[in-house]
Symmetry: C2
């Protein structure tokens, strides 16, 4: 199955997980395509100043693979600078959030799989 | 957990699945990090002319999200042109392969989850 970019499900979510601004989401897999192994495989786009609020993962874990831009990633209350090529993994029971603190769009692939 | 790009496991595989040339693989999740939900979440890099050979998925399914470049994607013996932003999904029991038929590197995210 091939979907061109304009055929993928796109969403704009305000204040995602309590964060600032509007996060753009291109859904690669839709929920019924995961064979119950996870719930998110998406290309996320945050303009400068936009953030995904700090939140805890219970029953699942999430990776972010940074494609473009830079930002501040928070995990378990520690802050890290991230940029294109970096990968973060928030294990079951841990918390994270991310903010675009740069001047370009911050884009990353997000993958959430179940515990 | 944060890994900078140079801390991620990188591989160069010749003739992947019987394809041409050498495929570069940056492993985002390692096998023991999947909680047994899958086996590959990687950034793949194919130089012009390089291909991943046509192969069948049994017991798992795979998505390719094209990040850069263009290529020819084959699924169940049909050929499609793919470019940055396109997403392909090869379901359980189906076959696919991909070749960089462009002039730039073809890069994509590959995700293999279990059935």
């Amino acid at each position: 199955m091939l979907k061109h970019n304009n055929e993928l499900k796109q969403e704009s979510v305000d204040s995602l997980r309590g964060g600032k601004g509007t996060t753009g989401i291109i859904h690669l897999l839709e929920k019924d395509q995961f064979h119950n192994k996870g719930r998110l495989f998406s290309h996320m786009k945050l303009k400068p100043g936009v953030s995904i609020g700090y939140h805890k993962h219970e029953g699942d874990f999430e990776g972010y693979y940074i494609l473009n831009g830079e930002g501040t990633y928070t995990e378990d209350d520690k802050k890290y600078s991230v940029k294109a090529g970096d990968f973060t993994l928030t294990e079951v029971g841990h918390s994270h959030g991310i903010e675009n603190t740069g001047t370009k769009d911050l884009e990353f692939i997000a993958l959430v799989l179940f515990e």
